[in-house]
Symmetry: C2
């Protein structure tokens, strides 16, 4: 890899500074002028740990890493500002590897309203590493994990479990997965963080808490309940499943509802709000209720489910 | 490595949120309330590429990585705000490795006035990787690379070349280096970015540009000259050398002046200002002048020096 050549080409991808990005790539640091408090998060994705380059393209990997960081901004109810991307590129890799990753990052950043304002490029004797820092602006108020109250609805955006099933299908037979289940595969490769929903929710007074589903719905639910000092009852029969999810899961001997409860990587939002308070925001489904007793009770077909693994499905 | 246990302990290191850190470690993202535009930079340091764990401790590595990112904030003339730290920890490493690195990061952050507000921890089949994102607040105006004007003084903070000599001494004989040259060794292991100087300079109207010396004085000088469309003459005889630098360099068959011109990793600032304009800020030395002709001319003992390598000394 010719670092200077790649850096010059990468810089071209991020030069379009936005209204709130005063200074982008090319100086010691970027300069941003947010309209409110700044929300900041960083996430690292490593080849062989968080993704596998044999199951997605380098551009997909960049896109996914960006979506993961942006999802944290969405979960705080903040709007888009800037992305900083740090790549560790295996020694001897061709220039097109970092360029493809950066193209995926720039595509995701552009789609979600962020400007790529800076970054870092280094070679490594290890595998490809992608660290994305996402910066957002909190134009309403931050939606934190601590704030869920007994009696709140537990709501979820989109169709949880789709990404985990997409990954399972890819692992089983990549070619067949792409042909037969493009929606599920895309949910894993090119997830869409819920920025618009987060922003809209942060403006509603009865919305109390939010988190994004990165490790698995039940596990991430637990983080909010712990931070809020409450518990929850979840009715698994109300989980909104992606079209074709049940059949796709069955073809692998898996259960689509279990995928929705424990599969990670969806980047959907879990939302905690007074009954009806989140109604103006489309695409949310009520899946349970916050309780004053601690712990999570999941029921299915009227019976209590014991979840063998709360650890979430693996990422790769 | 027990990730959850390490994360819980790491979180303890960063919990002391400051006045401008509304929400620190423990939620989806940190929330910051800067007093002006936000300055943002990210830097990755990889074991075997940017440092060697046999030449410094894990805590030193964390400190150095943080100093490197903070130095970019200093070069923009901004004040401290927050640090996000992303660690990639080799599979099988003991918990004390990431904890020591984080202790170094927290020590540096505290010393430089930053709050560790977030981060990420993952295992990797590769070497230890440390990605530090530093966020600062621009309370005056950003000092960029583009702005140097013909006739400006070229000034430098501190004693450039000290870190490169410290590293060369460590490589030659670590035990002897630590005992005989503690100041030079410390310059490499625990560099002190020039935040106070940067902030003070950004408030002075006749100061036109700045950059931090990370790759080597002549190389980083070139970045400012390119961005400003000017050239410079540097008088190497005026370079302020660290005490003992000449003798230490000679003991290795090296030249202290060459170390000052091409050695990286000092995190000193190069400053471009109207003659006298930077005088209120202590610790700066005039080493040359900006010219309207392009390119860099370095003289020593009245004769023009040709620098064999502009690429800077290696980092490790």
């Amino acid at each position: 890899m010719d670092e200077w050549r790649v850096i010059r080409r990468l810089a071209g991808l991020g030069r379009r500074a936005g209204a709130r990005v005063v200074l982008g790539i090319g100086d010691d640091a970027a300069v941003l002028s947010p309209r409110g408090p700044v929300v900041a998060t960083t996430d690292t994705f490593v080849d062989g740990v968080h993704f596998r380059l044999d199951l997605l393209s380098a551009a997909d990997a960049g896109f996914r890493a960006t979506a993961g960081a942006v999802s944290d901004i969405a979960a705080m109810g903040a709007g888009p500002l800037a992305i900083l991307a740090a790549l560790e590129v295996p020694a001897g890799a061709p220039d097109r590897l970092p360029l493809s990753v950066m193209r995926g990052i720039a595509t995701a950043a552009g789609r979600f309203g962020f400007v790529v304002a800076g970054g870092n490029l280094t070679s490594t004797p290890g595998p490809l590493g992608i660290t994305v820092t996402a910066l957002g602006e909190s134009v309403h108020r931050p939606l934190t994990r601590a704030g869920a109250r007994p009696g709140d609805d537990v709501l979820v955006t989109g169709r949880p479990g789709a990404a985990a099933l997409g990954l399972a299908l890819l692992r089983d037979d990549p070619w067949r997965a792409r042909r037969r289940h493009p929606v599920l595969v895309r949910a894993w490769r090119r997830p869409e963080p819920r920025l618009a929903e987060g922003l809209a929710l942060a403006a509603l007074p009865g919305v109390h808490a939010a988190i994004d589903v990165s490790d698995g719905l039940v596990q991430d639910l637990g983080h909010v309940l712990d931070a809020s000092g409450v518990g929850a009852r979840i009715d698994a029969d109300t989980l909104p499943l992606a079209p074709g999810a049940v059949r796709a899961a069955a073809s692998l001997g898996l259960d689509a509802v279990e995928a929705a409860l424990t599969g990670g990587d969806d980047y959907e939002l879990l939302v905690f709000a007074e009954p009806g308070a989140a109604a103006p925001v489309p695409g949310l489904t009520r899946i349970g209720r916050v309780t004053s007793g601690r712990g999570v009770v999941v029921t299915r077909g009227g019976r209590r489910v014991s979840l063998a693994r709360r650890a979430g499905w693996t990422h790769r």
